[in-house]
């Protein structure tokens, strides 16, 4: 199962790769979601994990999620929003933009793996 990870923090990328790769996921990490449509085309992921706060990018995570949902063929791609921001406002915003799962950092890796593995069953 292919995972597109959009995260600008190298430590967090390393941690997520170390979590997901041994669990059998093929991870493609990108620092910016500005060209999200091209990334979807290139990797054709079943899951996109996107950090809300992307420094050096024009598009924030919420905008990236909206664009994923508009991209043909990605209406049902599992979208996970990662954020250091806490609070219901952001959670509601993530849900309104079409994200499937909203995780506040620090997040539980077991919860993330559990959700991804459930999604994997649904795509089988």
């Amino acid at each position: 199962m292919k995972v597109l990870l959009i995260e600008d923090e190298p430590d967090m990328v390393a941690l997520l790769e170390a979590t997901l790769t041994p669990a059998g996921f093929e991870v493609h990490a990108e620092r910016s979601g500005d060209a999200i449509e091209a990334l979807l085309e290139r990797y054709d992921p079943q899951v996109v994990i996107v950090d809300v706060m992307l420094f050096g990018s024009r598009a924030d995570g919420f905008e990236v999620v909206e664009r994923i949902r508009r991209a043909p063929g990605h209406e049902r791609t599992l979208v996970v929003v990662l954020t250091a921001l806490e609070g219901d406002t952001y959670r509601r915003k993530a849900e309104a933009t079409g994200a499937d799962l909203y995780l506040s950092k620090p997040f539980s890796p077991l919860e993330l793996l559990g959700k991804l593995q459930s999604a994997e069953l649904l795509t089988d």
Partner: protein
């Protein structure tokens, strides 16, 4: 925004999840072994408590030998040693010994069948040979492989004595229950034939009467 304090908090979350996952794995393993023991006991009520008692005596013998084997692995193998009996026809469960050659073949196949069932679980790999070979004899006359002496894995040699001891003490199949003195004499007679002589000596050197009388041990092996 994802500076060091947040990254450190994230690492702490990983450490907590690791501990949680470890607890879950351990409790799943114990639960699975309990399930296996219970399945065998449902199919063969005469075996009620047998696996747990074999685990108890195996652990005591391992202690007497200076703990050459990891206790958790030995306990698991002892609990699971008879799981292959699930594959025996019901008519043979109570009597254990079969009526004809075909039945005896099935009896001889049960350790191998048990090992094959357990091979579905990667975490059990290390101790599955102890299940497969727990009916081997020191002189090579056992089954399923006819291994002899030190070629029989130590865990299997330990379980063999614990298993034999419990069957004699409780009685099973056509065999009545025996006294502790009678069972000890039986082990001694079979030392060097069925049982590893060194292990038989160590087993008989344990305070068997006190251990036998102390019913608290059931709690230990059931915990």
């Amino acid at each position: 925004m994802t500076g060091e304090p947040l990254y450190q908090r994230q690492l702490m979350e990983y450490a907590q999840d690791l501990a949680r996952a470890y607890r879950q794995i351990r409790s799943s393993r114990d639960g699975f072994l309990d399930l296996l023991v219970t399945l065998v006991e449902i199919k063969a009520p005469a075996l009620k408590g047998h696996a747990r008692r074999v685990a108890f005596w195996s652990l005591r013998l391992n202690d007497a030998l200076g703990r050459p084997l990891e206790p958790a692995a030995l306990k698991a193998a002892a609990l699971a040693h008879d799981v292959g009996k699930l594959g025996l026809p019901d008519r043979m469960i109570a009597s254990w010994v079969g009526e004809d050659e075909e039945d005896r073949e099935l009896v001889r196949a049960h350790p191998q069948l048990g090992a094959s069932l357990l091979e579905h679980v990667d975490a059990f790999t290390d101790w599955i040979p102890w299940v497969r070979h727990h009916h081997e004899c020191w002189d090579g006359s056992g089954f399923p492989a006819g291994l002899a002496g030190g070629a029989i894995p130590l865990g299997a040699r330990i379980i063999a004595i614990a298993n034999g001891f419990d069957y004699r003490m409780h009685g099973y199949g056509r065999e009545p229950a025996h006294t502790l003195a009678g069972t000890s004499a039986w082990i001694e007679r079979r030392s060097g034939i069925c049982f590893d002589p060194e292990l038989a000596r160590a087993f008989l050197g344990m305070p068997l009467e006190a251990l036998w009388a102390n019913r608290l041990w059931l709690e230990e092996v059931q915990g």
